[in-house]
């Protein structure tokens, strides 16, 4: 007996998403490389007079981690055939991400520099901006998954799309952790 069609994670799409993570992960590696290239060349004078603060970035980090946890709960639910867990997990993950988006927009609007002020500004906005684009696409994926869940497309054996969307979201969260470390922590490391 062989499984037929989309069963668990035996789909091509699952492997395809892993390749997406490989290549987009490389993109962020090169972005952070560029940041560190400038930081090493210029030292403290390259950074803005007021270092990026934690008021928004720490809550945002917690929001993304919590959002990933909700999504993990949703995925676990669908694998056990519990549709309620799947739907609520997705809804909470989306809600937390929306709050993240709002906080990120407020943080950006409060910056004294722009993308074209200084090299630091260019890198700050391109790093956080590209991360934001990846997160926005992830948010669209979660909303679409919620719609498909409400349409009863998934059950305990056919749920590959949920796993595929979830692993992409975990990737977006992991990239945020690297971005957070680079932009908010390394300037304070002497």
């Amino acid at each position: 007996m062989l499984p037929v069609g989309s069963i668990e994670r035996r789909t091509n799409g699952w492997y395809g998403m892993l390749t997406v993570i490989m290549t987009e992960g490389a993109l962020f590696a090169y972005l952070l490389f560029s940041y560190y290239y400038f930081a090493v060349q210029y030292g403290r004078e390259w950074l803005p007079p007021q270092l990026p603060e934690f008021w928004f970035s720490v809550p945002n980090t917690i929001l993304l981690l919590a959002s990933s946890a909700a999504l993990w709960f949703a995925e676990r639910g669908v694998r056990r055939g519990i549709r309620r867990d799947l739907v609520w997990g997705l809804a909470i993950a989306i809600g937390l991400a929306v709050i993240y988006v709002v906080l990120q927009a407020i943080e950006w609007s409060g910056r004294p520099f722009t993308m074209s002020s200084t090299p630091y500004g260019s890198l700050y906005f391109s790093i956080s901006g590209l991360h934001f684009v990846h997160l926005a696409i992830g948010l669209i994926i979660l909303v679409v998954l919620l719609i498909w869940s409400l349409l009863n497309y998934f059950d305990a054996r056919r749920y590959a799309a949920v796993s595929i969307g979830a692993v992409y979201w975990y990737f977006v969260t992991a990239v945020w952790l690297a971005v957070f470390f680079t932009i908010y922590i390394t300037p304070r490391l002497g």
């Binding site: 989309s6 069963i7 490989m22 290239y37 090299p119 009863n152």
Partner: protein, 650 residues
Amino acid sequence: MSSIAYERSAALETAGYDSPATSKLEQLWKTKPGLFGWLGTVDHKQLGKRYLITAFCFLIAGGIEALVMRLQLARPNQHLLTPEQYNELFSMHGITMIFLYAQPVLSGFSVFLFPLFLGTRDLAFPRLNSFSYYVYLFAGLFLYASFLVGAVPNDGWFNYPPNALKLYNPGPNIDFYALGMILLGISTTVGAANFLVTWLRLRAPGMSINRLPILTWSTTTTSVGILFSVPAVSLAFLMLWLDRQFGTHFFDPAGRGQPLLWQHLFWMFAHPWVYIVVLPAMGFVSEALPIFCRRPLVGYTVVVLATVATMVMGFGVWLHHMFATGLPFLALSFFSGASMVIVIPSAVAVFAWVATIWTGRPVVTTALLFFAGFIAMFVIGGVSGFMTAAVPSDRQMTDTYFVVAHIHYVLIGINLFPVMGALYVWFPKMTGRLLDERIGRWNFWLVFIGLNVAFLPMHWTGLAGMPRRIYTYPDGLGWNTVNMLTTIGAFILAIGVLVLLINIAVSRARGALAGPNPWDGPTLEWTTPSPPPSYNFAVIPAVASQNPLWEGRLQEGLGHSSVGRGLVLDQGKEVLATTPLDAEPDAILKMPQDSLAPLVVAIALTGLFAGLLVAWWWLAGLCAVVTLASLVVWLWPEPALGQIAVAAND
């Protein structure tokens, strides 16, 4: 709504290509008729041929650009071209050959051949395959549209700032390049993902990791290389475009940007890229040279290891393109050493090919001539490369014609020669007719002589001090004769390429019929009719060795591959998924029908980039929305693909 059961027991059956089961398979897999089928086909064989035809069109375009340049340089003080026109030609020659010909032509062969080599019916993502082709075509047209507005990229294919920045290059020339390359990168990346997942998942049962055709190792290795390297150049071009259009300060010295950062990001991509454009071509040789030596490749395992090692090490040598930029000696030393060590796996492969010829019983065909010529040209190109790996000698030779000689020996020798040889080997499989051998000899010798007459003296030209990328040169420097020789050689090479095109045209119509296995090859593609039917294999074969069709005469082991007996999988468009290491059956996967979604998304994406190019932000935004919406439609779960849960009361 019909729903797909979650499991099925599948029985082995015996079926040949003339059995009743195949008419059902043909109905399931063949492209739909009319314009819808032509635009929406997901048949990898048709898409592979389109890739090859498009790549050859770009080869011709890049070749014409080169010939015009050589006319300008044949004698001193010529004024056939203005300096700006010359800059545009050498830039587009490089861009066309390296990005629009060299890698796509290899993709084209792999798109056609992978499923046939692996014993399956399509690539892992058939619609993505179609999308990848369309985006490649549109990106190439996007770049060439610059000719229509007279603003062609003009800063070389490496495109260094500050000269590429708005201050020195105010027109849209560089914007065409930057945006066109990001668009092309999307095509290349999704193509690479397609090959990698196909290689991991869609093999014939029994095709374990040590029984895979060696060409699939090369293409998959470079696919991983693409996934990790293309983001560097896409990012660099995005940063450059932002510097030019939005006043950011990544690279501009006046705003405390770092021009060298461009060079790092660019070469971190472009050095792995040069291996990406040659390793699959080396795979053609590893795959087909043994056929014409009538013995398996010597040292399959070490050649596989050498391929992977070359790609991995290829990520650690990029600084050798920057030896003259004033970087610290410690950095230069490390990269110089790494650039020498990387020769070792290449040498291993060369010895394996030579040993295959030496211990085999060679049959001299046009293909074998190209493969033998390739080995010799590879050695010459490799030696000149090794010379530039030494920092002191590179300081003399960088940006001179010595480097131009090196790159053309490696690109023509390690990409074009194997490509031409591969055409002679697999054209019969693709079209059902053999290429003419007599015309083929003319093809080979003209190309071989042309290459060497054009580029062997060029080593001397560079050592005599002629810089590259100059539109003319004064009389009396001693460069006149060599330049004339190079121009003559270039035209001989061009005639050789023309002879190939004549051969293709003549043989399509009147070539000898090929049959399934005209060369007595050992791998699975030689079990199908030529050309293969839409479904490739009547039953999914099972393999027990590296060379299934030579098992009887090689006596390698006790296993027997099974070609005429296997799973039929005719309950829809179906393929078998197997485990990555041991290739044990894992699942029956459903494949999609022809679809226009890939074309729609490709058009929307190109529209987005066009909007960005002309700063019509509303168009870019609209196209972005259309792109996302079309992607959602494309990915919407389908019952026929087994993507929707079967309801409890169904």
